[in-house]
């Protein structure tokens, strides 16, 4: 009988087990010093990569060296963006369950990442998102109707029906297109940043991937090129613990934090409490300032938890405990910001109730408008001749001929 000696990573808990996050070390807020943005890598690589930057403590107070000291208005804006993101996700999930859209992906529990980062960057900075970054659009002020129309592939779909739901883009808002092929956006963001540096402007790029897709070769390509050319780019790795059914150990997280890969490439790696809005905001400001000053790229690992299913095609109860999210030691990002604001006295329970109702109503109004531009089953529909547009800038003869073949079928009907 042969006996395998191969190591197979195992998550701490499967469906019938008690959740166990003892592997997540949660340090006090004053554990990680905030270095000057000009500090050389060798002096900061261990302090930033192996602990976890936190600002909000267990009592919902902001403290430590990274406290960004945001004013009440910024916090209120952030809270609204996060609630709107969550309300959009809830509505779109329901619409998928009712068959109104074919597919959806929620970012529940990860809202702080997109909202804090978009708020910490300049509107001219170019964002290369992955598929759980809808908050970037919301924080940059996008009309939710546009996002919904994309999910509906209707007559106002920005992609003209060419992408499955949630693969948004926004040229005017400087948000790049989402690809189903994971991590491809990482070297693209680095290339965008290289071009910005060549052109001598002070814009920077930022990109996001999950911890699971950090296993793709494009992660290595992006890190190498970013390091070689000291590109002004922020490379975010959102470690939400789960890549569909495989836990973060299957991407290499068992042996070392993902943030520690940064120093291996000569890039600072920062590990941040991804459910702490203020901490995410602070590290993003730090990385952006470094990039803008010509000090090069930063890798940020956001430690968070994917509360929802991977997508509407996924059933996480088959591979992890249903109550695992409740045991997650870093809590919920929306609730933590809310509790902080209540404690600081810049928000009240009444205001919160009003805001919840307002965002719900807003999402409902947007949905009603979106479906007036068509649904999957009811018009107005996209022009099917659009199928042949944009393959090339100018349509070549063979596509003109194929478009005529499709038209001829219509005439036969």
């Amino acid at each position: 009988m042969r006996k395998s000696r191969l190591h197979i990573p195992h998550p701490p808990a499967r469906p019938s087990d008690k959740p166990d996050f003892s592997y997540v070390h949660v340090p006090p807020v004053d554990e990680v010093p905030r270095p000057d943005v000009n500090t050389p890598l060798r002096k900061i690589e261990r302090s930033l990569a192996f602990s976890m930057v936190r600002v909000l403590d267990e009592q919902h107070s902001a403290g430590g060296a990274w406290n960004p000291h945001l004013d009440a208005h910024d916090l209120q804006v952030a809270l609204r963006h996060m609630l709107l993101t969550r309300a959009l996700d809830e509505r779109m999930l329901r619409m998928q369950r009712q068959g109104k859209i074919s597919f959806y992906m929620q970012c529940t529990g990860e809202e702080a990442v997109s909202i804090a980062q978009a708020m910490a960057l300049q509107p001219t900075d170019m964002l290369f998102p992955h598929y759980r970054n809808q908050g970037l659009h919301i924080a940059r002020g996008r009309n939710l109707v546009d996002l919904m129309c994309q999910c509906l592939s209707n007559s106002k779909d920005m992609c003209k029906g060419r992408q499955m739901p949630i693969m948004y883009h926004w040229a005017r808002g400087n948000i790049f297109s989402i690809s189903g092929n994971l991590t491809t956006q990482y070297p693209q963001a680095v290339g965008w940043a290289i071009a910005a540096a060549i052109k001598g402007d002070d814009t920077i790029a930022a990109s996001w991937i999950g911890e699971g897709s950090s296993a793709e070769a494009d992660f290595h390509h992006a890190m190498t090129f970013a390091s070689v050319y000291q590109a002004p780019v922020i490379l975010n790795l959102v470690n939400n613990q789960w890549a569909i059914s495989t836990f973060q150990g299957f991407a290499g997280g068992e042996q070392r934090p993902f943030s520690a890969r940064g120093p291996g490439y000569g890039i600072p790696g920062i590990r941040v409490d991804g459910n702490d809005f203020l901490a995410v905001y602070a590290v993003t400001r730090w990385a952006a300032e470094r990039a803008r000053r010509g000090n090069g790229p930063t890798l940020i690992e956001h430690v968070t938890y994917r509360r929802a299913a991977h997508s509407t095609s996924d059933d996480p109860s088959r591979y992890r405990p249903a109550d695992e999210w409740q045991a997650w030691p870093l809590g919920d990002p929306v609730d933590r910001l809310l509790q902080h604001m209540l404690k600081e006295g810049c928000w009240s329970g009444d205001q919160h109730e009003q805001l919840l109702q307002e965002v719900q109503q807003h999402v409902t109004d947007c949905w009603d408008e979106a479906i007036s531009y068509g649904t999957m089953t009811e018009g107005p529909f996209l022009d099917r001749n659009e199928l042949f547009e944009d393959v090339f800038k100018d349509m070549p003869n063979h596509l003109i001929a194929q478009r005529e073949q499709l038209r001829a079928l219509d005439e036969d009907d």
Binding site: M167, S179, V190, W192, E389, D390
Partner: protein, 339 residues
């Protein structure tokens, strides 16, 4: 007018475009200080600086991925993949991203990237330095695919490629970098100086993408070819005094000049398709199918394909593998014998 070989011609194309458009950058392994392993970028870094002629890590996936981002941010990157055989780590970025970015964003984003890459065998390169993978890329919608056969076309087509707002894969048959190789490896090498297409203007000009060229007019059989095989086809036809072959240099596989193919085969009624790449599912299959669809009632013989064998490109039996003039002449005689 100057005498140029293919290397000097592609160098001149990049030189002209670097001078005309500040957004053009050249990007690839060894292209900078050294000037490229085939010398195609020789002198360009000295002239335009290391911020425009940029050496890269050995990373085809990284080169293509970052070139896309550079293109999205307003540059016009001309990326070099050192050998076409090395392009595969970049294929996900080429197929899933570069080729389809305009489509998936309904025209809101696009990356005008040109990828230059030397291809083809006959240089003792074995199976990792001899491939002709054009058929992999012609199968991808959204890419323009070009393979010139001479210095004049190489410069004019490369300028067109760099100016084109769509992504272009630009294959350079390296066996004819220095001279018009006719498929006889034992004969003395011929330089481009003796060839009319080695006369190349030093300034800006273009050769249009999407147009084939009748290299040699003829009445009895059409040979569809590109790259090195244009010269092999001419040599094969020259061995057959009693066969009047028309040789068409396809030049750009995508978009394909179907009209040029149709009008030639309508006239000759016979067709031989040839390329150096392997035969099965190769671009020659598209050419043969096009002839079958468009010219069926003009045909007097089945279309023949003369291609690389469906094996990897060997080191030891290079000339047994290469679809040389002898095989091509046999195919020409075969289609002429069918009546």
């Amino acid at each position: 007018m100057a005498q140029m070989n293919m290397i000097q011609a592609v160098n001149s194309a990049m030189d002209v475009m670097l001078g005309r458009d500040p957004n053009v950058v050249v990007f690839g392994q060894d292209v900078g200080y050294f000037g490229g392993v085939f010398r195609c970028t020789d002198g360009l870094q000295r002239k335009y600086g290391e911020h425009r002629i940029i050496d890269t890590p050995i990373s085809e996936g990284g080169i293509v991925g970052t070139a896309i981002g550079m293109g999205v941010n307003g540059l016009r990157p001309v990326a070099e993949i050192q050998f076409a055989d090395y392009i595969y780590p970049g294929v996900d970025q080429i197929i899933s991203e570069l080729a389809r970015l305009r489509y998936r964003t309904a025209g809101d984003f696009a990356a005008p990237v040109t990828i230059r890459t030397p291809c083809g065998g006959g240089i003792r390169g074995g199976q990792t330095h001899s491939q002709s993978p054009e058929g992999i890329f012609t199968h991808v919608c959204g890419l323009k695919v070009i393979m010139p056969s001479n210095p004049y076309d190489a410069k004019g087509l490369l300028i067109s490629a760099i100016e084109d707002d769509d992504p272009v894969i630009f294959f350079e048959p390296k066996r004819i970098y220095n001279g018009p190789f006719d498929g006889y490896p034992d004969r003395p090498a011929v330089p481009w100086t003796d060839h009319p297409m080695g006369d190349v203007p030093e300034d800006y000009y273009t050769v249009p993408i999407g147009r084939a060229e009748v290299v040699k007019p003829g009445a009895e059989v059409t040979v569809l070819c590109y790259g090195t095989m244009v010269h092999v086809a001419a040599a094969a036809a020259a061995t057959l005094a009693d066969v009047d072959a028309e040789i068409i240099d396809i030049r750009t596989m995508v978009p394909l000049d179907v009209d040029a193919i149709k009008s030639s085969v309508a006239k000759t009624g016979r067709c031989v398709v040839t390329h150096e790449a392997t035969r099965f599912s190769g671009f020659g299959a598209e050419l043969a199918a096009t002839v079958a669809e468009e010219c069926f009632f003009d045909l007097e013989a089945p279309v023949q394909r003369v291609c690389g064998w469906d094996t990897p490109y060997p080191h030891a039996f290079e000339w047994e593998y290469f679809p040389g003039p002898k095989r091509l002449a046999a195919a020409l005689e075969h289609v002429m014998d069918v009546s």
